[in-house]
């Protein structure tokens, strides 16, 4: 242990208190993320200073780190994601878009699965950084899904691909901190792949359940099995072959199989479920975006084609990706240390942001080119740019303050040792039972940081040590860590906020969490039981 904070019940409870308060404010009292996040930030500051012995200088630097991370990790995605949505909305492209999807399959349940699970999972395979949620949630609204469920589905449907998606950046982080090599990599990837497949299956079944309860499961089961075999099974198998692109390939296979399913006897006709609570009135959905002159599907989808083309060309062709990485924006920080000796090393390039090969830039470029196409084709009327920018700013401002507060508080908790005390407390209190708790630690890391990568960096080494101490299989525990980190993305306030902002549901984060928390924690319980059985 490289710090001297006593892991006492008091210190543990003080570290846990802000998480409880944040969740209570969001879920019980239904505060918006901006209000709850800001309030909880004050609490974290007080606990950091008076319990975790943090000096004013450290507090100042950690606050800047939080703001920097909020801007260059999340807000750079939020702003252009909202812009691309508003451009598409202003052009009236969602109506024709939905009609085009209906030609692939008239079955609404498969349409919902296609976007929330197939497409979002595919996007996570290449982009990450919250882009799948920011793109899939508004598209789901466009095909008639209620905004609240659109956010829930996008969160649940994309998160399985967090570990091996984005060209396996989270997996690489875990390998790095745990110093895995050779056979250890393959065995850990095997367990991680198994847990991720389980998560993937739960995601598909949850979408079906929310769509039509038992009838939804019955109707959706063939599609769930087919998509899950491609996505989860594909990830598991491919991780043994090439762990760098397994998430991407599995995401592509999972999306493509939807088009085949649309031609089968199960899904080439409308759904038998006619009263799904997740859909709003179809006429209302169409009126929202209708125009006198209706465009074709491919034109309606053109901003997203551009996004896909930019993403695939730049991120998958390594020489281009590396060439564009030359421009990097970062900030240096000196080392910080608390009164307990919890130290954060000096960093020369904190939160490095590479604008030219970042998903945020692709989103911005796609929005601008999409606007130019729609304008040229006559689908955006005079004054359209003003309306687009006005609505974008109105949505972005509350999201900005919410993200700044949430990121600032999570960075402060991380860098003053509170997150570590939480994890060590769980480890020391549970003993042999720790194996069951290991996915919860992964979830905690992602909840606090909004990232599978950060969760693995924060707790990967700790989980490995804990496994060693209790004599558990390290590969199983590390697999649970990263799968838990992926699952934690469905409850990470930043991701939830990304979804609510892009569908115009800001302030309803608690409503989303009520559902996604059950999914994440339920999954962790199932994973925990599976781990205990494996041991």
């Amino acid at each position: 242990m490289d710090f001297m904070i006593p892991v006492t019940a008091g210190n543990w409870l003080f570290a846990f208190l802000p998480i409880v308060i944040l969740l209570v404010l969001l879920v019980k009292f239904r505060w918006g993320a901006a209000e709850a996040g800001a309030f909880t930030w004050f609490l974290v500051v007080l606990i950091s200073v008076f319990v975790y012995k943090t000096s004013i200088h450290t507090l100042a630097l950690e606050t800047v780190k939080g703001v920097w991370s909020a801007v260059f990790s999340i807000l750079v995605v939020v702003w252009p994601a909202i812009l691309i949505y508003e451009v598409t909305y202003e052009a009236g492209a969602f109506g024709p878009f939905r009609k085009g999807i209906e030609k692939v399959t008239p079955n609404r349940l498969l349409q919902v699965m296609a976007f929330s699970w197939g497409f979002a999972g595919f996007l996570q395979g290449v982009t990450g950084f919250g882009v799948p949620v920011a793109i899939a949630a508004p598209l789901l609204v466009g095909i008639g899904v209620r905004p609240l469920y659109a956010v829930i589905f996008a969160l649940i449907g994309h998160a399985w691909n967090n570990t091996f998606g984005t060209l396996s950046v989270s997996w690489a982080a875990l390998k790095d901190v745990a110093q895995l090599s050779g056979p250890e990599v393959a065995v850990t990837a095997l367990y991680a792949g198994m847990f991720i497949w389980l998560f993937n299956l739960v995601a598909g079944l949850t979408i079906c359940w929310l769509y039509g309860r038992g009838k939804g499961i019955k109707e959706g089961l063939p599609a769930v099995l087919a998509i899950s075999i491609m996505q989860g099974g594909g990830t598991l198998l491919l991780s043994q072959w090439n762990d760098n692109i397994s998430g991407f390939v599995a995401g592509v296979l999972g999306f493509l199989v939807v088009f085949i399913l649309g031609r089968t006897k199960w899904y080439n006709k409308p759904s038998n479920i006619t009263d799904s609570p997740i859909l709003f009135d179809s006429i209302q959905a169409e009126d929202k975006t209708s125009k006198d002159k209706e465009m074709g599907f491919h034109l309606a989808f053109s901003p997203y084609y551009i996004l896909l083309a930019l993403t695939l060309v730049i991120l998958l062709i390594q020489p281009i990706k590396l060439a564009l990485a030359f421009w990097q924006i970062s900030i240096p920080f000196p080392s910080t240390v608390t009164g307990y000796g919890f130290a954060n090393a000096e960093t020369a390039a904190y939160g490095a942001f590479t604008p030219l090969n970042h998903g945020a830039t692709f989103l911005l470029a796609a929005a601008l080119i999409g606007y130019a196409i729609f304008k040229f084709k006559g689908y955006i009327n005079v004054g359209g740019i003003g309306r687009i920018l006005g609505r974008t700013v109105e949505k972005c401002i509350p999201a900005t303050i919410a993200m700044v507060s949430l990121t600032a508080l999570s960075v402060l908790m991380r860098d003053t040792g509170q997150a570590t005390v939480l994890a060590y407390g769980v480890g020391s209190a549970t003993g042999m039972f720790y194996a069951f708790m290991s996915p919860f630690v992964g979830i905690l890391g992602a909840f606090m940081t909004g990232s599978n990568v950060a969760s693995n960096l924060l707790f990967g080494s700790f989980q490995q040590t804990a496994a060693h101490v209790i004599g558990a299989n390290e590969a199983v525990i590390l697999g649970a860590q990263t799968a838990g980190g992926a699952a934690g993305n469905v409850i990470a306030p930043g991701n939830v906020l990304l979804g609510t902002t892009t569908v115009g549901l800001l302030g309803s984060e608690g409503e989303v969490l009520r559902v996604t928390m059950v999914v994440a924690l339920g999954l962790a319980v199932v994973m925990g039981v599976a781990i205990m059985l494996i041991m």
């Binding site: 505060w31 918006g32 901006a34 209000e35 709850a36 996040g37 800001a38 309030f39 930030w41 004050f42 004013i56 200088h57 450290t58 507090l59 100042a60 630097l61 606050t63 800047v64 703001v67 920097w68 900030i331 920080f333 000196p334 910080t336 006005g390 700013v393 109105e394 401002i397 509350p398 900005t400 303050i401 919410a402 700044v404 507060s405």
Partner: protein, 59 residues
């Protein structure tokens, strides 16, 4: 832009405005800058919950 968004814009701007003071204060060990930055940041952070309480009639 409605009045709530305008106030939240000020809140966000205050938080961003505070960061140079916080950074210089933390980097150079200047207590004055750090305290000034924290004060500005705290004002920015206090606005959303206060707005929320006023909206709910609790304040």
């Amino acid at each position: 832009m409605d009045s709530k968004t305008k106030i939240l814009t000020i809140s966000a701007l205050l938080c961003f405005l505070a960061t140079p003071f916080l950074y210089i204060g933390g980097q150079s060990g200047s207590l004055g800058n750090a305290v000034l930055g924290l004060l500005i940041f705290c004002i920015g952070m206090a606005i959303p919950p206060i707005l929320g309480l006023i909206k709910r009639g609790d304040f």
